[in-house]
């Protein structure tokens, strides 16, 4: 029974499409548009991480990202662990944890699953499940353990940068980023653009959510069919597409009005009046900063040494 072609075909289709179909549903159910709002919101707290030198905070994700590329899988696991530990120190809100878990674990599962399906090692290949010809014509002969392991490694490398960036993002006032960029001699406009983007992204998400609600309140049918109502899904996709066109006008008008005011406020507050800006912040180096710089330094120097000695470095070619 299990070896019959129809059953194998059904299992194959389920294996290949289950993850891509489940992940968006999980995102919509657990996070949604309103949940995205909390993703980039700064959480003001008094933790050592919040007080860390902003320059180090800018360097940290860059450094960790580079290390995640350079190292072998096992060495990279150590780096990955180092990016996870500070989360326990930071103790973000439950709402933020919920969103973070979906936003980080979702792509991780997708990467892991995708590589398992499509990354093919040299023969002999060990298949966890081999697809029949009715599925294999789509390009994947089956799920391989080697591919999944490779996917896990690649995803973890990406997660190192994502995790570190999110850690920094929610523990740093954007003004501190601007300060750090200016210390690195970056133009003030870079800091301002980042400030405005991070400040208004949650507002924009709220507004998009509001306009989508408004279109439903006006009697536009946005109700989703049940998963098994296959004949209704094309119509739902069509309605969704049309709705995007409908909401564009109010969104565009609202955004233009908002940006005009914001530009006038920035002008009135003297933005661009001088080439160099002053700063309220006076950063006094603390023990935490010294530890932070030391860890980053050790990691970078360690990576260089290990690469030079051919230990822990990835093999290319």
């Amino acid at each position: 029974m299990m070896n019959s072609l129809p059953v194998q075909t059904i299992i194959s289709y389920l294996l290949i499409f289950a993850v891509p179909m489940v992940l968006p549903v999980v995102f919509l159910k657990v996070v949604g548009l309103s949940g995205l709002r909390t993703l980039v919101t700064y959480e003001a707290r008094d933790t050592p991480l919040h007080r860390l030198d902003p320059r180090l905070k800018v360097l940290y994700p860059i450094g960790m990202g580079i290390l995640s590329i350079l190292f072998t899988w096992k060495a990279m696991l150590v780096v990955f662990g180092l990016t996870i530990l500070p989360w326990f120190w930071l103790r973000p809100s439950r709402a933020k944890i919920k969103v973070l878990m979906v936003m980080i674990i979702g792509p991780a599962i997708a990467g892991f699953w995708g590589q398992g399906l499509y990354y093919l090692p040299p023969p002999p290949i060990h298949f966890l499940y081999k697809f029949p010809w009715t599925m294999a014509w789509l390009g994947s002969p089956g799920i391989t353990s080697y591919g999944m392991t490779f996917g896990l490694q690649q995803t973890s490398r990406v997660l190192v940068t994502v995790s570190t960036s999110m850690l920094i993002l929610i523990s740093t006032d954007v003004g501190d980023f601007t300060w750090a960029f200016e210390r690195f001699r970056a133009p003030p406009h870079v800091g301002f653009a980042l400030t405005a983007a991070l400040r208004f992204l949650p507002e924009m998400i709220t507004r998009v959510n509001l306009v989508f609600r408004a279109v439903e309140l006006r009697g536009y049918d946005m109700s989703r069919p049940r998963w098994h109502q296959f004949n209704r899904w094309p119509d739902y996709a069509r309605r969704l597409g049309r709705c995007v066109v409908l909401v564009t006008v109010p969104l565009l008008i609202g955004t233009l009005r908002g940006t005009t005011t914001m530009a006038m406020v920035a002008d009135a507050r003297g933005f661009g009046a001088t080439k160099r800006r002053g700063s309220l912040r006076v950063h006094k180096t603390t023990a935490v900063d010294i530890w932070g710089y030391a860890i980053l330094g050790v990691l970078v120097v360690g990576a260089l040494v290990l690469n030079h000695l051919g230990i822990g470095a990835r093999y290319y070619g």
Binding site: T195, L217, R218, G219, Y220, M262, M264
Partner: protein
């Protein structure tokens, strides 16, 4: 053109301005002077040029807003019109209407420091300015707070602090109270008064809510069609109601009452509740008011809930019809916090109910549940006995029409006619429409404009259109979320009259969420007070507004007339009168026989 203004004085000299492509000038030959330490209230109907004047006074016209400018704006002997925005903003600061759009940074202190940092000031100077601005605006305790966590009043005070950090000599505020609850408004106004009285800052407040600003203002400027039609101290400005009636702009209730019963108030117009109370305390007015209240309590007067205004007259008595909407033990949680806490409430068929409360008290969350927006963590919401299913907005929007505060966000089509037809493209037309599309065009005043774009209508027109589009779907209940925010008295009056006509025509149940205690809430037959997510008071409007102490506790100020009666009579006020004309006729009808008429200029008559 006059000579240069005295040092520290802001002066508009024969200023006219037309926006690019506009057929008519937004400002026409405006002359205005603002001295240091002076509080000037500028008011006028929507579109009269107030906001344009604000932009000109702070130098953003012509620097950032383009058009044809004639005349000039001077600060002392310096021409402000020719300065760069950051130079002008160190003389005249501007606080815009929506604080959300002018807070660029993430925390309070970084927002306040933004301006001084841009001026490349030394760190000690920036720190000193931030400390002073936070102190003077009462925000010192929240300096590290994230902007997104602030209340409306706190955001507005942060915007004021950030503007003050540029150390302007004059502060111009464009409708700073429009999004604030009454308590938040008082926070902002007391901050402004502190700045003017103790800091010597000139303050220009552009505002429709004249009742709240009147006691603080040194001068009142009335604008109409781009011109200044009146510029006088408050008492002189409101001594003659003619110009105010002609422009359709509201007059403070205490002033209207003094005009209606001049023999009680004498020649000195009361601008505040305190002044009015002092004027009539222990006079025949108080005695007449007490006699009328006693009569009402004994049942000789009209029944409560059917007395205040036309809407109440048209509405059935409280509890008259069967429940159309009900919340049974409803709670809603966001991130572990209870926005709505165990609310049990019913709205009956044909009622007009106002939900009031401070910002964040759960009003909008509660009404959103009636169309499936949001999900209760406990309890059930019902429409005509049937549970409202969370998330099924399309299904419930046909039964309950919800008009959002930002009505512009509810318009999606290219013409007025298509906008009215919008809903019928997705669901069947109602079999028994209370208002079909051609009727709606006529009823809402769109005859001849059916093929116009909604964006060619005025703001009031767009709001009418959104309302009309909801009503052609024949809903059973109309829910209005802050429909009169930022509207002038004329517009508000028209909107309330429109609602009266809609009720008279359709008999529809109305639920309004509002901060507009004086206008919209007073119009309802029944008021529900929410505080921290719970129902704190529920009853006929005239009785709930008599509970001044309870209202203040939950962040709401009763209308000035209600507070006057509570101040004079205390608990004996019973259910209060909310219309000036009604109060005036009542006290005159109960005037003791021995009370003498007052001589002009002698103050209130003591009986």
């Amino acid at each position: 053109m006059t000579s240069a203004a005295p040092a520290g004085q802001l002066r508009a000299e024969d200023v006219s301005f037309a926006y690019v492509g506009a057929a008519r000038a937004a400002l026409r030959h405006v002359n205005l002077a603002v001295a240091p330490g002076e509080v000037v209230l500028i008011t006028g109907a929507s579109g009269c040029g107030k906001s344009t004047l604000a932009l000109a006074l702070c130098g953003l016209i012509p620097a950032r807003v383009h058009g044809e400018l004639r005349g000039r704006v001077m600060f002392g002997s310096a021409p402000l019109s020719g300065m760069k925005p950051h130079e002008a903003s160190q003389l005249v600061g501007m606080v815009f209407q929506n604080p959300n759009l002018q807070l660029i940074n993430q925390t309070v202190q970084s927002e306040v420091a933004f301006g001084p940092e841009n001026l490349a000031l030394p760190q000690p100077e920036i720190a000193a300015r931030v400390d002073w601005c936070l102190d003077v605006t009462g925000m010192s305790g929240m300096r590290t707070a994230a902007v997104v966590t602030l209340s409306g009043g706190q955001k507005q005070r942060t915007a004021i602090a950030a503007t003050l950090a540029m150390q302007p000599r004059i502060l111009v505020l464009d409708e700073p109270l429009s999004d604030l609850d009454p308590v938040g408004a008082q926070e902002v106004l007391s901050t402004l008064q502190r700045l003017a009285r103790h800091g010597g800052t000139g303050v220009v407040v552009i505002e429709h809510r004249v009742d709240e600003v009147a006691p603080w203002a040194d001068r009142v400027v009335l604008m109409d069609d781009g011109r200044v039609v009146l510029d006088q101290p408050p008492r002189a400005a409101w001594a003659e109601p003619g110009p105010w009636r002609a422009t359709g702009v509201g007059i403070p209730d205490m002033v209207r009452l003094a005009h209606a019963v001049p023999e009680a108030f004498g020649s000195r117009l009361p601008l505040s509740l305190q002044e009015a109370t002092d004027a009539v305390k222990d006079t025949w007015f108080e005695a007449a008011l007490a006699a009328a209240a006693a009569e009402r309590r004994s049942g000789a007067g009209q029944p409560a809930g059917r007395r205040n205004g036309r809407a109440a007259d048209a509405a059935p008595a409280v509890g008259g019809g069967p429940p159309v909407l009900s919340w049974d033990g409803v709670s809603v949680e966001f991130d572990g916090k209870r926005a709505v806490d165990d609310v049990t409430l019913a709205v009956n068929e044909g009622e007009w109910v106002a939900l009031i409360g401070a910002n964040g008290s759960g009003k909008s969350t509660l009404t959103g549940l009636t169309v499936g927006l949001g999900k209760p963590s406990a309890g059930v919401v019902r429409f005509r006995g049937q549970p409202v299913r969370p998330g099924k907005v399309f299904d419930h929007a046909a039964q309950v029409a919800l008009l959002l505060q930002a009505a512009d966000d509810m318009l999606f089509e290219t013409t007025v006619r298509k906008e009215l037809e919008f809903g019928f493209r997705f669901r069947a037309r109602p079999k028994e429409p209370v208002l079909d599309v051609p009727e709606a065009v006529e009823f809402f005043g769109f005859t001849g404009r059916e093929e116009d774009s909604p964006w060619e209508l005025s703001q009031g027109g767009r709001q009418r259109l959104a309302l009309a589009a909801l009503l052609v779907g024949a809903p059973g209940v109309l829910v209005l979320d802050e429909p009169t925010t930022g509207q002038d008295a004329n517009h508000m009056r028209s909107f309330l009259q429109l609602l009266d006509r809609v009720r008279a025509r359709t008999g529809i149940t109305i639920v309004t969420v509002t901060h507009d205690i004086r206008g919209l809430a007073s119009r309802a037959a029944r008021v529900v007070l929410l505080g921290e997510g719970q129902v704190r008071a529920d009853g006929p409007t005239s009785q709930v507004f008599a509970m001044s102490g309870d209202l203040i506790r939950w962040g709401v100020l009763a209308p000035p007339l209600a507070r006057l009666q509570s101040e004079l009579l205390g608990p004996a006020a019973g259910d209060v009168l909310l219309e000036v004309d009604e109060l005036a006729s009542t006290v005159l009808a109960h005037r003791p026989a021995g009370a003498r008429a007052i001589s002009p200029g002698t103050g209130a008559l003591r009986s």
